[in-house]
């Protein structure tokens, strides 16, 4: 999405939803959903839409883990690192996942195929280790499940 498209989206969205400051995060969600990330070059247009400073928007954008300022890989695997998953062997699965997917935790693989990210709890705490693979929940991840995920993100 280039700046013009983003600006158009911002203006359509704010026309429909409003320009109150409290709608900033919903707009950021909408932008990220449409574009995969929120480019720094769009911040000025976002700020202007809500009558905020660029600094205001930048502060919000950089505070929340969810918002990406760079595009992610084509597939996104979010692996839970929280205690319940750890109690079920999560640490070993995490180590195996980085190896199997060929990417360090928190990074995007060089070929842009997959981004591996930590997540802290998906609320599936009795059936871990868990992950979200492109938004789809996967429970009881073992080596076989990692193989399936690796195959899925190869596509």
């Amino acid at each position: 999405m280039d700046l013009d498209e983003a600006t158009a989206l911002i203006s359509t969205w704010t026309e429909r939803e409003g320009r109150r400051r409290d709608l900033l995060m919903p707009l950021l969600h909408a932008l990220q959903e449409a574009a995969g990330h929120i480019d720094d070059s769009w911040v000025e247009a976002i700020a202007s839409a809500f009558n905020l400073s660029r600094a205001d928007v930048h502060g919000v954008l950089t505070f929340y883990h969810d918002y990406r300022r760079q595009p992610a890989g084509r597939h996104i695997v979010k692996l839970c690192r929280a205690e319940s998953c750890q109690s079920r062997g999560g640490a070993a699965i995490e180590a195996a996942a980085t190896e199997r997917l060929g990417v360090a935790m928190g990074e995007t693989r060089r070929d842009g195929q997959v981004t591996l990210e930590p997540v802290y709890c998906l609320g599936l705490c009795a059936i871990g280790p868990n992950a979200l693979v492109d938004g789809r929940p996967v429970a009881r991840i073992d080596m076989a499940a990692l193989d399936r995920i690796a195959a899925e993100v190869a596509a």
């Binding site: 409290d22 750890q86 997540v119 709890c121 009795a126 429970a139």
Partner: protein, 524 residues
Amino acid sequence: MTRVFISRDMASVALGADDVARAFAGAGCDIVRTGSRGLFSIEPLVEVETTDGRVGYGPVTPGDVAAVLGGTHPNRLGDIAALPFFTAQQRFTFARCGIVDPLSLADYAAHRGWIGLEIAHAAEPQAVVDTVKASGLRGRGGAGFPTGIKWQTVLDAPGGTKYIVCNADEGDSGTFADRLLMEGDPFCLIEGMAIAAHAVGASHGYIYIRSEYPFAIATMREAIALSAGRIAPFTLEVRAGAGAYVCGEETALLDSIEGKRGQVRAKPPLPALAGLFGKPTVINNVLSLAAVPFILAEGADAYANVGFGRSRGTMPVQLAGNVKHGGLFEVGFGITLGELVNDIGGGTTSGRPVRAVQVGGPLGAYFPPSMFDLPFDYEAFTQAGGLIGHAGITVFDDSVDMAHMARFAMEFCAVESCGKCTPCRIGSTRGVEIVDRIIAAREIEPVRATANGDTLGKALYSRAPDRIDVSLEAQTVLLRDLCDTMKFGSLCALGGFTPYPVLSALDHFPEDFGAPAPALEAAE
């Protein structure tokens, strides 16, 4: 056409429920997607409607359609409600969960839905607040503050505009009750919020749901649209979080709704007086609000008659982690930790001995089995150096390294700290570093360096490598000092409670920190 009930809960789906549902649909069944009953060892669960009521099978795979429909499947469970896991519960809040279609207004009404709201609407706001007070309901988010008193403050607060905010930012590992309810019985929460709105004079409400719960967000949004007419003129909307754990802290949550960085506000002013957009605001947890329809419908006594000490009513306990029968277990206060972990939960999945349980999420204390006679009660837990929090219990077997878990507690705090207050912002990172030094030192005791002098100048230069005492003893003292600074110096519970898991690990499992094991533990 055979009617079958299959959960659409995120956990069930994670275990393959969608594939199972597709398979049954392919076989010509009429599929009703319900919430989850809350016992995950039997998911994906399929309940087949028969003349004798629903007959459950679980877990089931897509290949099991014929066996289930033929009644021959080996995982036949019969009447799910009759399973011991369920008969032992007192399902006040979760009565409908797993049974009804969460987005069917008819189902909801057929299962005593909206009765509480009707009673509330017929009463004066003060009477509603009085009923909630009389029920003894305390905030289920962790702090245990009496809900009725909070509502009274908002009711009494001057000003025309007031808000109801539901804290559905359930970020604690080991907890999932909010998610289960929002996905399985969303109207219950909506009804609770509508009652609160009537009680305090609010006209609009927000449900702030963490982005890690996409199913709950979608279900709540749909349920709000469906029930808009039922709760009018009260209106509701869902706001999705963006991956910040700290937004579960109520003031950070309010700032987040306002479109700001989710930083914790100093209190006072209390949100009840100056909350969302500076207006008087009821901010309650999902479980607190979802308990209200029962209280109104069945009466305060029906709720208050259950419980223990000053902890009245039921607590939806969540059994999580390395536990055989993990799930949602709603029960009156007073049940012991041991009963929950061993009797209800059935011990570990791995079959190894339980070594520790963490109660109350990442900010909760670790308890050894020696403390399993602790009753589930706010005061008892506080006294034992822990907290009930959101009543999640994460079970660990004997493979756990408690120094690693203490390190993780600090690491989690470092990852999620909003960065506002100093003890949390810097302390959490220093905490990770100290535990790393302890882990490095617990097998090789290094030579102790000497430190002397007492000037500020020395403080500034004391970070030179040869001035640091990296001995186990010194680092353990430092860790305790740091925990003291964080516990009593932090602005909110994130920094303030992170010492609970750290200190409890240090106290109950000293051997993992290079010190001798406590005698009590050895005796068991």
